[in-house]
């Protein structure tokens, strides 16, 4: 039996847990906890250790999806999470520009620790105040080469599209070598 891993990362409240939940065949073994810090109480719970989703491919292949915890004080987990992964998805809340800077910092850290392919999901595109993918690309200063995809994490089709694009990138990168 073989297992491979992809990591879902992004700022606090971006929609990482929702993203994994939408596609995992098991309930996300989430480690949610009530939020204590007043400043970050835009919602009731946050992921404190990591999310954990699974997709069984066939009898001898399983894909695990790991979600990083969103709050900054847990950033020590990142390095552990990035070990041996195929690629990663950076989820950005397109409607909260105040988190773009942090998204960029996360992206940078991940890219340096884990030189694997990645895609950026411009999440919450269903919200009226969501930035478009094009505007987000400029705000995050992402090169044209980097794939950015519109996303609604609660919608399975949209999550599938993001993961597929990541897999295509992984395949392309293999061919280049």
């Amino acid at each position: 039996m073989q297992t491979v891993k992809m990591v879902v990362t992004g700022p606090f409240n971006a929609g990482k847990t929702a993203f994994i939940q939408a596609i995992s065949e098991i309930d996300v073994v989430s480690t949610e906890r009530k939020i204590s810090s007043e400043a970050e109480r835009v919602k009731e719970t946050t992921t404190v250790a990591m999310d954990f989703g699974r997709i069984t491919v066939d009898d001898d292949l399983v894909l695990y999806l790991f979600g990083t915890p969103g709050q900054k004080r847990f950033d020590f987990m990142w390095e552990i999470l990035s070990e041996g992964m195929l690629g990663f998805v950076v989820i950005v809340d397109s409607a909260r520009p105040e988190t773009f800077r942090e998204a960029k910092g996360i992206l940078q850290t991940f890219r340096a620790y884990a030189p694997t392919p990645y895609v950026v999901a411009a999440n919450k595109q269903d919200r009226d105040d969501a930035w478009t993918v094009e505007d987000l690309r400029i705000a995050l200063k992402l090169d044209r080469k980097i794939k950015m995809l519109p996303c609604v994490a609660s919608d399975r089709e949209s999550v599938k599209k993001v993961l597929l694009e990541l897999l295509y990138s992984i395949l392309e990168e293999m061919k280049e070598k």
Partner: protein, 271 residues
């Protein structure tokens, strides 16, 4: 009653506000994770600051701001070591080295630099000792705290933003290999040049800062500018070990790898 507590519960901004509004006289001691600082006030005005064991004498301040050379500083110390800062100041003015305005401006800048840095201390302890004032041989100033608080708050926001964008100082920098991105065509100031001359995947940002005696905020500011201009990128420092199995797809064979990814693709398509 002694005013003391934890910076987590009562921030530097709140402390300065309190001192300002209550027009307090005395010295605030802050104990941060790495060093201590002392800031003194008279009737709610900022008059003096000292950081750790930094040389905050007039000689030390003028040396730091580049008004005198290390050699001159040494000369002053050996000739006028016993003199108070006030006497030394007069001596320098009479000798035509500096005028009073220069001296006061340098002291003011030195004190403000320390106080602004304290705004970024979010961890540590504080204590306010009423009526304790700086040593008599130091020159004090008199600054309104309102402006200091405004500027300090602005800087802490900047500090937080830079911290988010450049979270890890243990990373290295590399020049971007892109036509048109030539560092030689850019107008850089002295500080920026100092940083640029050490950019190399072997040096971490922290090492560059240390070599140039810059604090975290100063180095982040410069790196931020270079990143924004698209001249450099953050890279893993040479020699930093990769996480054990990073990049290592289970089957080593290329066809097997591709087949594995194709199986994943088919599975996800079918969901």
């Amino acid at each position: 009653m002694a005013l003391k507590g934890n910076l987590r519960d009562f921030s530097v901004t709140q402390l300065l506000n309190l001192i300002n509004l209550a027009r307090k006289t005395g010295t605030l001691t802050l104990e941060g994770p790495n060093e201590a600082a002392w800031v003194s006030f008279r009737e709610g005005k900022l008059i003096f600051a000292q950081l750790g064991n930094e040389d905050g004498t007039l000689t030390g301040i003028l040396l730091k701001s580049g008004k005198i050379t290390a050699k001159q500083a040494q000369l002053i110390k050996s000739h006028a070591g016993e003199k108070s800062d006030q006497e030394l100041g007069l001596m320098l003015i009479n000798a035509g080295y500096l005028n009073q305005h220069d001296i006061l401006a340098n002291i003011r800048q030195y004190i403000l630099d320390i106080v602004y840095r304290l705004f970024t201390w979010i961890e540590g302890y504080f204590r306010f000792d009423a009526d304790v004032l700086p040593p008599d041989d130091r020159i004090t100033i008199r600054l309104d705290l309102e402006n200091v608080i405004m500027e300090g708050s602005r800087r802490i926001r900047e500090w937080e933003q830079l911290q988010e964008e450049i979270p890890n100082l243990d990373m290295a920098l590399n020049f971007v290999d892109r036509p048109g991105a030539n560092i030689r065509d850019v107008n850089l100031n002295v500080q920026e040049w100092k940083v640029v001359s050490y950019i190399n995947p072997k040096n971490t940002i922290r090492q560059i800062a240390k070599t140039n005696r810059m604090n975290d905020l100063e180095i982040r500011r410069i790196v931020y500018g270079l990143l924004q201009a698209g001249l450099v990128e953050v890279v893993r420092p040479v020699g930093m070990p990769l996480p054990p199995q990073a990049r290592q797809l289970p089957p080593v064979n290329k066809e097997q790898q591709a087949s594995l990814v194709n199986r994943l693709i088919n599975r996800i398509r079918s969901l």
